[in-house]
Amino acid sequence: MIVTPGWYMTLAAVLFLIGTVGMLLRNNALIMFMSVELMLNAVNLTFVAAGRAHGDINGQMAVLFVLVVAAAEVAVGLAIIVSIFRSRQTASVDDLAGMSG
């Protein structure tokens, strides 16, 4: 039985769905960040699988750029979480309603 790229696409889709569910159901900011990482990695798997299916190196190039942007995003996001935690003593996004009208 040959493992076609479609299998990897399906796996990546399920992974992306799990990340979306985590984003929607959890309200700890750290867990939500991890869910975003799950979604980014699902897309990375799709890029690599499609790049192999089409014999194109540019899929792996895109993965490298997604990696860099994700690393920058994690650094800034975690700094924001630490900064919020120091002033509010909480990591729950539901407690951050200071800007609601």
């Binding site: 039985m1 040959i2 493992v3 790229p5 479609g6 696409m9 399906t10 796996l11 889709a13 399920v14 992974l15 769905l17 799990i18 990340g19 979306t20 569910v21 985590g22 929607l24 159901l25 959890r26 309200n27 700890n28 750290l30 867990i31 991890m34 799950l38 990695n41 990375n44 690599v48 499609a50 790049g51 192999r52 089409h54 014999g55 194109d56 190196i57 792996q60 190039m61 993965v63 490298l64 990696l67 860099v68 942007v69 994700a70 690393a71 920058a72 995003e73 994690v74 650094a75 800034v76 975690l78 700094a79 979480i81 630490v82 900064s83 935690f85 120091r86 002033s87 990591a91 539901d94």
Partner: protein, 190 residues
């Protein structure tokens, strides 16, 4: 056959880690699940001959990013109970509707065989071997002569990411060093 076995085993690890991220009450367990998922994806990249991407995945994600996550989890405190009740009453039903809709759409795509565009990709093509040399000659410059190099189209985005990383690290440091002058005013707002 070997690839099928790898797909089943490593795919199970991937999904198990991902479910752990969403399901675990303890944030450290969630981080461990995310780490398992990232390592499993690195195995998939090796299967796809993306060796350099797999190495970068292990070093950057499973190394640096997970260290950052664990550091912040320890800083925020792991024994703090998370309140799981939702303040937006429509969000949970909407999430259920979204999940069911996506599952139904996926089933529809499988039943109607819409994956064929990716399954048969026009016969055998040149196998891409994602070695460091191949990645570098596509990312920065291709050698065209004895000592002549021609920059590729990825060179400008590559330089832009370096600017992005600098800005991000400066922003992270300045955010972490920022302290509000008058804390008493902020507590009144609470």
């Amino acid at each position: 056959m070997v690839e099928l076995a790898i797909f089943i085993v490593v795919g199970a690890v991937t999904l198990g880690g991902a479910i752990t991220v969403v399901w675990a009450k303890n944030a450290v367990y969630a981080a461990m699940g995310l780490m398992a998922t990232l390592f499993a994806l690195a195995v998939f990249y090796v299967v796809h001959l993306a060796h350099f991407v797999a190495a970068v995945q292990v070093i950057v994600y499973a190394g640096a990013v997970m260290t950052l996550f664990l550091f912040v989890i320890m800083f925020v405190g792991v024994d703090r109970a998370e309140v799981l009740d939702e303040r937006l009453p429509i969000q949970r039903p909407l999430a259920l509707v979204l999940v069911l809709g996506v599952i139904m759409m996926g089933g529809f795509l499988i039943v109607t065989d819409q994956f064929s565009w990716i399954i048969d990709s026009g016969g055998p093509r040149s196998v891409v071997n994602g070695t460091v040399e191949e990645i570098g000659s596509n990312l920065i410059a291709t050698q065209v002569g004895e000592n002549a190099f021609e920059p590729t189209r990825w060179l400008l985005p590559f330089e832009a990411t370096s600017a992005l990383l600098i800005v991000a690290s400066i922003g992270a440091v300045s955010l972490a060093f920022y302290r509000p002058r008058r804390r008493s005013e902020e507590e009144v707002v609470e």
